[in-house]
């Protein structure tokens, strides 16, 4: 850490350094009130029986026990993981392929600047807008997507049986995973590409002089040097993925049969934390900490798997 001012010894310097407190004071105050306190408060509440209003009584680990024993918690966790896995495989797979294409030395594909802007576009749109756009496009009877498929089938003289993409438990989770991959692959691609561009040209030139082929260079230089970034993308995606909420929450329809197949942990938490009629604040707090512990555990496992030496 190189946060040392270069002038030393002067008494005056101590006086200058006191200004540091002034500079960080607003951050520290707001941080304590709006970040640290809520996190600790949630921890405290997770050991209480607080419902909506009234007094909170400490009840030990009863909430945590209830979380562990509630099969709907585990179903929501499984839903979250299932959607996340399909999503991340598509998202990172596509980003990885694109990275290979644009970093290839033989074909020298042009237009990176333009393509990555277009690929990034879906990232910008608010999840609520994406949710309504796709919910409408994918509507079983009237949606444009099925109308298009129907037209294409007809072209080949076949009959298309409209699929209820979001209403059918068998397809709803995958549909959401694909939409999320569509939203985020551009982001992963830019990150991987930044990683490739960050690798010193010397490595590639030295390898080329030694007569290494494209694939050898890719496998022996690019991939190993990209590992930290892929790691970073995977972990941030997992942390985000386990908190998946907006899309399934907005696209799921309680009336349809698919709702139980796309209820995520965050939706489960929302139900007990904020949905009128089912609020059990203490229990919801325990759910939040359970999810945190799971995220922590998985992050550590991921770190060990990817970097056995450093961990």
């Amino acid at each position: 850490m190189s946060n040392k001012p270069t002038v030393r010894k002067h008494n005056k310097l101590t006086a200058y350094n006191r200004w540091g407190y002034v500079f960080v004071a607003p951050f520290v105050i707001v941080f304590l009130i709006f970040s640290v306190y809520p996190v600790l408060r949630t921890l405290y509440l997770s050991f209480t029986d607080l419902k909506v209003m009234g007094d909170a009584h400490i009840i030990g680990f009863a909430n945590y026990k209830r979380v562990v024993l509630d099969k709907f918690f585990w179903i929501s966790l499984w839903n979250t993981v299932r959607i996340w896995i399909v999503n991340i495989v598509l998202q990172l797979g596509l980003a990885f392929l694109l990275m290979m294409v644009f970093s290839d030395m033989k074909y020298k594909i042009q237009g990176l600047a333009a393509f990555r802007i277009i690929y990034y576009l879906p990232n910008l749109i608010a999840a609520t807008s994406v949710a309504f756009l796709f919910a409408t496009l994918l509507d079983w009877r009237y949606g444009t997507f099925n109308v298009m498929l129907n037209a294409i089938y007809k072209l080949f003289g076949a009959h298309y049986n409209p699929v209820d993409w979001l209403g059918n438990p068998a397809t709803a989770g995958h549909t959401i995973a694909v939409i999320q991959a569509w939203m985020w692959f551009g982001n992963s691609f830019i990150m991987l590409m930044a990683g490739v561009q960050g690798i010193s040209k010397d490595y590639f030139e030295a390898a080329a002089i030694d007569g290494a082929g494209r694939w050898t260079i890719f496998g022996k230089i690019t991939i190993p040097l990209l590992k930290p970034i892929m790691m970073y993308v995977a972990i941030t995606s997992l942390i985000g993925g386990l908190q998946m909420f907006d899309l399934p929450f907005l696209m799921g329809n309680k009336a349809s049969g698919s709702y139980n197949s796309i209820q995520t942990v965050m939706m489960y938490l929302y139900k007990f934390g904020f949905t009128a009629g089912t609020v059990q604040t203490g229990y919801a707090s325990a759910v939040a900490y359970m999810l945190f512990l799971i995220i922590l555990a998985v992050s550590i496992i991921q770190l060990k798997l990817f970097n056995p030496k450093e961990a």
Partner: protein
């Protein structure tokens, strides 16, 4: 140019694949724009890329239900101050941590690293309870003020300060007798401005698109930000019955962020790249 036919064919195929993917990214938006001008019946019967004549009708159905521009105004009232406060105070904090030696400096930096890893859901319930206690439900304060303490932004700007700001500049200013805050505003801020701009744009997009927290904090319709307002579309039978109006709502909601992107795409791409290299 000395390349074999196979080489050229392969290269062409790669370009075609890239263009198809680009089209896949834009297709939903294209359909959205076209469908916003067609009636529900037309949309359910066929698809086309030729605009229809029902824009006015869809507009009326939508605006009978809500005034989407009120949501936009509310989103601006939240996102602009939150972004400005976040940018200014993150730069202030980052500079303080990077250039001053004082007790607690390392503790604060450690806390920043820890909170960058902590998922937001962990504070959600405590945060809501705090807002209830302070009578901040239906106020924009809980959506704006916490932006002052953005660990990720401070972390990024601290690294940026260390690499972009030569200590000799600050020393020279001190020798000239410049007050510390004056130096910060006149010397440090201008030098840090590219990094601050990058963070500010990402912050603005994040604030603008934020859904879960505003949904929890805001309960009055007239206070709803754009994403929260959009989410109420589901409750409207008239809009749900007419797909064209839904598409129009989505189309209008997307415009501001697209404008931001048109002007700032360079910053956005560079911020993601920077995040990747730092990580």
């Amino acid at each position: 140019m000395g390349h074999s036919i196979g080489y050229n064919v392969k290269k062409a195929l790669v370009y075609i694949a890239l263009v198809v993917l680009a089209l896949a990214c834009m297709l939903p938006f294209a359909l959205m724009l076209v469908n916003a001008t067609r009636t529900g019946a037309e949309i359910s019967r066929s698809f086309t890329f030729i605009p229809g004549h029902a824009l006015k009708e869809n507009w009326n159905i939508l605006f009978d239900y809500f005034n989407i521009f009120v949501g936009m105004r509310n989103s601006l009232l939240v996102a602009v101050p939150a972004t400005a406060l976040g940018a200014y105070f993150s730069a202030l904090t980052a500079y303080g941590l990077a250039f001053y030696k004082f007790k607690g400096n390392k503790v604060i930096f450690g806390a920043i690293l820890v909170f960058m890893m902590i998922p937001g859901q962990l504070s959600l319930i405590g945060f809501y309870q705090l807002c209830t206690k302070l009578h901040l439900v239906n106020s924009y304060i809980p959506l704006i003020v916490p932006a002052i303490a953005a660990p990720g932004t401070v972390f990024f700007l601290r690294q940026y300060t260390l690499s972009a700001l030569p200590p000799s500049l600050i020393e020279a200013a001190r020798i000239d007798g410049a007050p510390e805050l004056y130096s910060f505003h006149r010397i440090v801020l201008p030098i840090l401005s590219p990094g601050i701009a990058t963070m500010a744009i990402m912050g603005f997009i994040g604030n603008w698109n934020n859904y879960l927290l505003p949904m929890i904090i805001l309960t009055k319709n007239e206070k709803f930000t754009l994403p929260v307002m959009m989410a109420t579309l589901r409750a409207s039978i008239d809009v749900a019955r007419n797909q064209g109006a839904t598409y129009l709502a989505v189309a209008i909601s997307v415009v501001p962020i697209l404008l931001v992107f048109v002007f700032f795409s360079k910053y956005i791409i560079s911020s993601i790249s920077a995040g990747a290299v730092k990580g």
